[in-house]
Symmetry: none
Subunit: 217 residues, 4 copies
Amino acid sequence: MSVDEERRSTRVKRLPREVRERQILDAAVRVFSQYGYHNASMDEISEVAGVSKPMIYAYLGHKEDLFAACIRREATMLMEAIAAGVTTEQAPDMQLWHGLRAFFQFVGEQKQSWRVLHRQATSQGGPFSEELLAMRGRAINLVDALLVRSATTRGEAPAKSTEALAAALVGASESLADWWLDHPEVSDKTVASWLMNLVWMGFGDLVTGTVWTPTPE
Amino acid sequence: MSVDEERRSTRVKRLPREVRERQILDAAVRVFSQYGYHNASMDEISEVAGVSKPMIYAYLGHKEDLFAACIRREATMLMEAIAAGVTTEQAPDMQLWHGLRAFFQFVGEQKQSWRVLHRQATSQGGPFSEELLAMRGRAINLVDALLVRSATTRGEAPAKSTEALAAALVGASESLADWWLDHPEVSDKTVASWLMNLVWMGFGDLVTGTVWTPTPE
Amino acid sequence: MSVDEERRSTRVKRLPREVRERQILDAAVRVFSQYGYHNASMDEISEVAGVSKPMIYAYLGHKEDLFAACIRREATMLMEAIAAGVTTEQAPDMQLWHGLRAFFQFVGEQKQSWRVLHRQATSQGGPFSEELLAMRGRAINLVDALLVRSATTRGEAPAKSTEALAAALVGASESLADWWLDHPEVSDKTVASWLMNLVWMGFGDLVTGTVWTPTPE
Amino acid sequence: MSVDEERRSTRVKRLPREVRERQILDAAVRVFSQYGYHNASMDEISEVAGVSKPMIYAYLGHKEDLFAACIRREATMLMEAIAAGVTTEQAPDMQLWHGLRAFFQFVGEQKQSWRVLHRQATSQGGPFSEELLAMRGRAINLVDALLVRSATTRGEAPAKSTEALAAALVGASESLADWWLDHPEVSDKTVASWLMNLVWMGFGDLVTGTVWTPTPE
DNA sequence: AATGAATGAGTTTTCATTCAT
DNA sequence: CATGAATGAAAACTCATTCAT
């Protein structure tokens, strides 16, 4: 091997699999989020990742697999961000409040992730929505538990529809986050408080002027 | 001329432009809703419509135009369905209730329309979301007016956030309808009542067991 | 038949075949000249002609036939224009001069015709060049005869290459006319005089500053 | 490995980009020249080149780009052929003579190239004629310089119209070459001498029987 | 005589995917 | 480990041409 070749082989790094995978996923999230699943081309992803296409296929598999991997990773990050904001020692309304704030903060900071996660995954059928459904299920469970605990704490029997309502709340959050993507001038705190008021007070109270405000911490 | 021939010649040939356009739109809604905008091929649409591709291009234009035309038509139908269910003479909560019922009924009966309208149009950028945004704007205005009227009726000043809350409600409805697509075992009335409870009573009341029920008509 | 229908049927003129054909040819020349043979669409021609496509097919035949008809018509007009400018009573150089002037005048006034005639027809193979070749042959014959007569008049035997030179002159004229299309700032007279100098004097004389000028009439 | 396999693997597989590009350009010139720009299909070119269509697009770009690349390549070859035949040490008339000979020799040997270069490019608008115009400009400059030098050598001031006359000569050459395409029975030397006589002697001399002949070398 | 309705056949172009090195 | 080279398959779109009225 000549000196030249040696130098080149040192420059052309043989990175460990883990690092390559992260590089690729980062690039994929960026490209999918910018162009959408279909308009994103493997060529572009490989270029952005600085990795040749065969490597992508070797590490992450076909386009579908790659996209699913993106969703999985981003969904996990989101759930972790929310979990970090909430502790079961807080009062129920404060738990919800912190959860919402954490959610909208994440969305605000990771718009790309959110785009991939929600808009793209939702509109593609099959395997993708499944990944998404799984995450949504976990979120719904969290909220459901919260509602049940809230009733139990007050010594009352929980309503039967808690799970459906939890689903509705999760849906409302996703939907509002989506809306927010197109209205970036509103702050994350404001958006969170709107939704908090809606779901906690209900229009019935709202129209009377009653407003929910977080208790000072 | 045999019966078959007659039937065929009645079915297939030299129809006036108007009729063909409707045929094409029907087929397009079906195909777009089933495969999504990108995976839907003009070939498939033309086959389903029983019309050659050149006719599609001649009458409805390029793929984008065709899709936009679908959205426009379906959105109009939805708004009309809702408007038909609501009259301003009803009490505010009953107006909301009837609006929600009409909405979920439409979605239940026209799942295809809804798929095209919401899922697909949302995930495609640019011109498509605009058609959708326009419709959403009209819906939000309706709800906003409702909330304002509701407060005024009670002799109170309307809250400042009514428009944002209206937006949230509309978003929640869309989101819940979307969720419902994947959970067809629930009845439309049930879904509507869930959302009604959420937005009218709020979790704050709900966890205490208070429930909103429609006043008997 | 109602009054309305009658009025309309009066407006929708049933023109005699001749008139229709001219309408169509005019439109075809315009469209072919603007877009080139291939990019010109029968649709566009029918629109410009104010006549439906089936009429075109009925009167002038297929696209190729139509184009050939255009060439034929325009070529005839050009030859007639030239013939009108020249009489055999003039001195040979004056005949050439008038012929050139007539040619460039025609090209200048009928740029569209010329475009169809020369540029388009030349670049399309087969049937079209034949029409063109025929016309060019007639032109070459004219010039050839001129050269021969010129020699005979001076009591000399004509050179053997007169026909080839005639061809070269015709080619030079066509070529210069083509060049002129893209340099419209030069007057037709100037262009004609350039060519006249070139072919009559030759570079050999030209570089000595000798110039041919038309004798005053 | 059998001989056949070896041969095939040497012929067909994994060639470096450079080679493939040349293969493709060769095929493109052939096909464009045979069918004309519009009637040439990328399919045919790819077949003739023995390469799949995606490679063409990857290496040479869209149809327009490919065509422009053909023109550029062939034009360069032509100019080089002419330049190789002429040296400024020769007398002016000999320079012109050698230039013409080289030109007609090239056209005679590369009829395909010439077809692409001139007929096709001329009839297509825009980007293609530009490539051609550039080359023509260089040719005209050459001739212009020649004429000016010729006058200066004789101690005379050059005529003002040298550039226009240079243009006419170039046009005449192109035109004559074009004519020659359809009259292959004439030798290249003959065609060149015809044109030489025309432009150097002029008809005025010619009709008197004066003829220019190359001085023996 | 005249036309709106209709299409078969073909074109360029793009992309996910895989060898051979 | 890593990649440049290569392609099969399909998609959007267009157009000359012809019926049925």
